[in-house]
């Protein structure tokens, strides 16, 4: 009996996800109308399926911009803004010294990271009249590969620009993802800079992170892949 119920739920979710693919415009319409949409149970199932598979994801797979664009494109959109965070070959340490980076390793507390990503996407859609999708990659990333991709569509460009900026900033603040920068002579964990008001804490924290790193390399980076 229990198995049957589980299978039935999976089947319903699957059919709903198919439905979403076929009626994407309609679904996007509903998503923009946030609260009324949440009143419907059916719509809530759509929402969870939609978010889980398309709007906010954490993945080991290579990220493709066109997937994010596809997830937000609809006929009423007049503006499309995208952002890609890319792994670069150098990074600055606390003393301001530039160091070469071989590759990066991203790690996530996955169930929470997925929730926080979905929350950021929802928040962007609540604040602006937009449809937003975001994906973050985890695992080993080489120089030039995309670590995070965000796509935002809206009727007019202002909303899309603002929402996209908000989404990347918020992802950097709240989503439990960590970045290890690996150089030829060691590795170190990075921490994103936070707002000016908390600066002293950040500096202290960075020193502590450095003390705990399993490398003698005197470098804790502020930022590497955007």
């Amino acid at each position: 009996m229990k198995d049957f119920v589980v299978s039935a739920i999976i089947a319903i979710l699957f059919l709903n996800s198919l439905f979403i693919c076929f009626e994407k415009n309609k679904c996007l319409e509903v998503m923009r109308n946030g609260e009324e949409y949440l009143l419907s149970f059916d719509a809530r199932i759509f929402n969870s399926v939609f978010f889980a598979f398309m709007m906010a994801t954490i993945t080991e797979e290579r990220l493709r911009l066109q997937d994010a664009v596809g997830a937000v494109s609809h006929s009423r959109a007049g503006a499309l803004v995208t952002f890609e965070g890319v792994v670069r070959d150098h990074s600055r340490d606390l003393s301001g010294q530039t160091r070469e980076v071989d590759y990066l390793e991203y790690e996530a507390y996955r169930p929470m990271a997925e929730r926080e990503m979905a929350r950021v996407v929802c928040e962007a859609q609540k604040r602006w009249d937009v449809v937003c999708a975001a994906s973050h990659r985890v695992g080993k990333l080489q120089i030039g590969e995309t670590a995070v991709v965000i796509a935002v569509s809206s009727s007019h460009r202002d909303d899309a620009f603002q929402a996209c900026r908000f989404a990347i900033d918020r992802i950097k603040e709240t989503v439990p993802i960590w970045k290890k920068e690996v150089a030829r002579d060691g590795f170190w964990w990075v921490e994103n800079p936070v707002e000016q008001s908390a600066k002293s804490t950040v500096e202290t924290s960075a020193l502590n992170v450095r003390a705990l790193n399993v490398t003698s390399t005197p470098a804790v980076e502020q930022q590497s892949a955007n």
Binding site: G85, Y106, E107, A108, Y109, P111, M112, A113, R115, H136, A147, V148, I168, I171, K172, E173, T174, V175, P176, I177, W178, K179, K180, W189, V190, E191, N192, V194, T201, V202, T204, S205, N208, V209, A211, L212, N213, V214, A225, N226
Partner: protein
């Protein structure tokens, strides 16, 4: 002390914390103020600093997540909560 006066919780570790302790989870024993009383995140951090001095210097700078939600120092803990220490994040 008997079992009623201690709550043992499992804490998930990531990134720099996991590297420092060379394991991805720890068990922290929190002494309760009174038998069966509810401990808070602040009590967990204090107990953790005492039991795992290697990571004590970093604890003031981490956030604690309970059941995948950021918690505050005043958030109460239950034995079956999924607790994680979140070092400064670095996505993007």
């Amino acid at each position: 002390m008997n079992d009623d006066s201690i709550l043992s919780v499992r804490v998930l570790l990531f990134a720099v914390l996991r590297d420092a302790l060379k394991r991805d989870e720890i068990h922290v024993s929190i002494s309760l103020a009174a038998k069966g009383s509810t401990p808070f995140v602040a009590d967990l951090l204090a107990a953790c600093a005492a039991q795992f001095p290697v990571i004590a210097p970093l604890l003031p700078h981490i956030r604690v997540a309970i059941n995948c939600e950021y918690a505050t120092l005043e958030t109460p803990l239950r034995a079956d909560d999924e607790i994680a220490f979140i070092p400064p994040v670095a996505g993007g």
